[in-house]
């Protein structure tokens, strides 16, 4: 079975992990138009090559980022999400 090097749990079988989609920068939910939001939700480069993706180790509910080649299925690098995301996103309530 394919082995994923999990930043938290070390090398584990890929069947213990769930794929969570490409890492894409979220437009500001408070100012973006609905078209921009639709692009963010639905549309994708879907490239053939190395892609930055969200993965989750299901047993420990640990989300992290993997750089994976979508042609050779080789996992180039895995690292904690905190390498990319340093700040908390605040969703404002509409009433505010």
């Amino acid at each position: 079975m394919k082995i994923v090097p999990c930043p938290l749990n070390g090398p584990r079988n890929i069947s213990e992990f769930a794929y969570g989609g490409e890492v894409e920068l979220m437009p500001d939910p408070n100012t973006s138009s609905s078209e921009e939001w639709a692009e963010y939700i639905f549309f994708s480069d879907n490239p053939a090559g190395v892609v930055r993706e969200w993965w989750c180790h299901s047993a420990t509910s640990y989300w992290f980022i993997a750089e994976r080649n979508t042609v050779t299925d080789e996992i180039v690098r895995t690292y904690p999400a905190s390498e990319l995301f340093k700040e908390r996103v605040e969703f404002k309530k509409e009433s505010e």
Binding site: A48, T70, V71
Partner: protein, 413 residues
């Protein structure tokens, strides 16, 4: 006797028929360039030539005719979808399939076997009742049936009494069937080439020349071709071609693995699908059992196989038909599926004015081959989007008007 046959085969009195364009140089310009020589590409060319008198067409295929996902699907033909848009579209496709052999004068081996989807939960029964009513309303034969009727249709099926998945009922789709997938693309390509269309195999598109929102030329490994308009029908690499044209699509690309056993005597007539264990099966007219399931758990542009997926298919199919455990697998393969967020295709206009989309064919492309060809040809010839494919435009996602068919797949993904 063998010598007689050989003599007949080599005799000049009965020359072999050549159905497709012999290899020749690309012209400098074509009215229509079709990228992708699979079932859809060939069907678009065929209907353009047959109904619209457009024959200055080149089909560009990077490999060989029908060598992509046309030759990798599991040949399930059905129209028992959930939405009005989906059911109407696939219903028209099935109607065309019924007459194709006569129309081509070439046997596509269409067989009206019926298709059965199994339910093991009350929720599934509820959704089948809904699908059956939508289908009947739109003239498609679907009905909810019970265990006794299932036993009559498929006597060898394990109904799961006392087991993990007791079968409660099923959705019986009498219109369903199968056809030989290679023959479908060959038939379309033959009909197109006879009318003057050029098929260019081993011709890979390497770039698209788009200026001021219009496509001017298609760049290939055999030179540049100017074009009046172009259409992409490249299931499995839709996003990559769209990127050449300069836009994104709502697609993620996954492999779908399938396998087939050695041939056995005919014992299974309908096509049977079991969403609860993610598997479906049919016995081909050659006697082989074709077994397929859901797409892989994560995206990949690769037709490699995994033991996990094969294990899951094997255990699931033995749950339904325990005797299959005694059979031997003949071969296994994978296709590449362009999955859309709502499990419906992406057809019609694109952000580039004279560049048309026939994409997002996920796991439902083969059954839609005839109607996609017919409607796309109408669009290219008239410039108007036919009503049947209006709901499938790529811009539906910008308006949040998805056509949700996720519940009507043969093996939920």
């Amino acid at each position: 006797m063998p010598f007689g046959l050989l003599k007949y085969g080599l005799s000049k009195t009965y020359p072999a028929k050549h159905h497709f364009t012999p290899r020749k140089d690309l012209k400098k310009h074509y009215d229509v360039v079709i990228i992708g020589g699979g079932g859809h590409g060939a069907a678009i060319a065929y209907y353009l030539a047959k109904y619209h008198g457009i024959t200055d067409i080149a089909i560009l295929e990077k490999g060989y005719l029908g060598g992509g996902n046309t030759g990798r699907n599991t040949a399930v033909l059905r129209a028992n979808y959930l939405t009005e848009e989906g059911v109407t579209f696939y219903r028209e496709s099935l109607k065309l399939y019924r007459d194709l052999s006569n129309e081509f004068d070439y046997n596509i081996m269409w067989e009206n076997r019926g298709q059965l989807t199994l339910a093991t939960t009350d929720a599934a029964i509820g959704s089948f009742r809904w699908r059956a009513e939508v289908n009947k309303h739109l003239g498609v034969q679907s009905e909810l049936i019970g265990r006794d009727e299932i036993r009559e249709l498929v006597p060898l099926l394990n109904l799961g009494d006392g087991g993990r998945y007791p079968i409660l009922g099923g959705l019986w789709h009498a219109d369903g069937g199968t056809a030989r997938h290679d023959a479908v693309v060959w038939g379309y390509a033959k009909g197109a080439c006879e009318r003057g269309v050029e098929l260019h195999q081993l011709t890979e598109v390497t770039g698209l020349d788009v200026e001021h929102g219009r496509i001017k030329a298609v760049l290939t490994n055999r030179g540049t071709v100017q074009c009046g308009c172009a259409v992409q029908a490249v299931a499995g690499t839709s996003s990559l071609l769209a990127a050449m044209a300069g836009f994104k699509l709502p697609i993620h690309t996954y492999p779908l693995q399938a396998m087939v056993t050695q041939p056995y005597k005919p014992i299974l007539d309908p096509l049977v699908s079991a969403p609860h264990v993610h598997v479906y099966i049919q016995q081909t007219s050659r006697g082989e059992f074709v077994i397929g399931g859901g797409s892989d758990p994560y995206p990949l542009y690769n037709t490699r196989s995994t033991l996990e997926m094969k294990e899951s298919l094997c255990s699931a199919i033995q749950e339904l038909f325990p005797f299959i455990g005694q059979m031997r697998l003949l071969r296994q393969w994978a296709g590449i599926t362009d999955m859309t967020p709502d499990y419906s295709p992406i057809m019609g206009l694109s952000p580039v004015e004279n560049y048309y989309l026939d994409a997002g064919w996920g796991t439902w492309g083969f059954k839609a081959t005839p109607i996609s060809g017919k409607t796309m040809a109408e669009l290219i010839a008239t410039g108007r989007v036919p009503d049947l494919i209006k709901p499938f435009g790529v811009d539906r996602f910008l308006r949040f008007e998805q056509v949700n068919e996720a519940g009507a797949t043969a093996a939920s993904h």
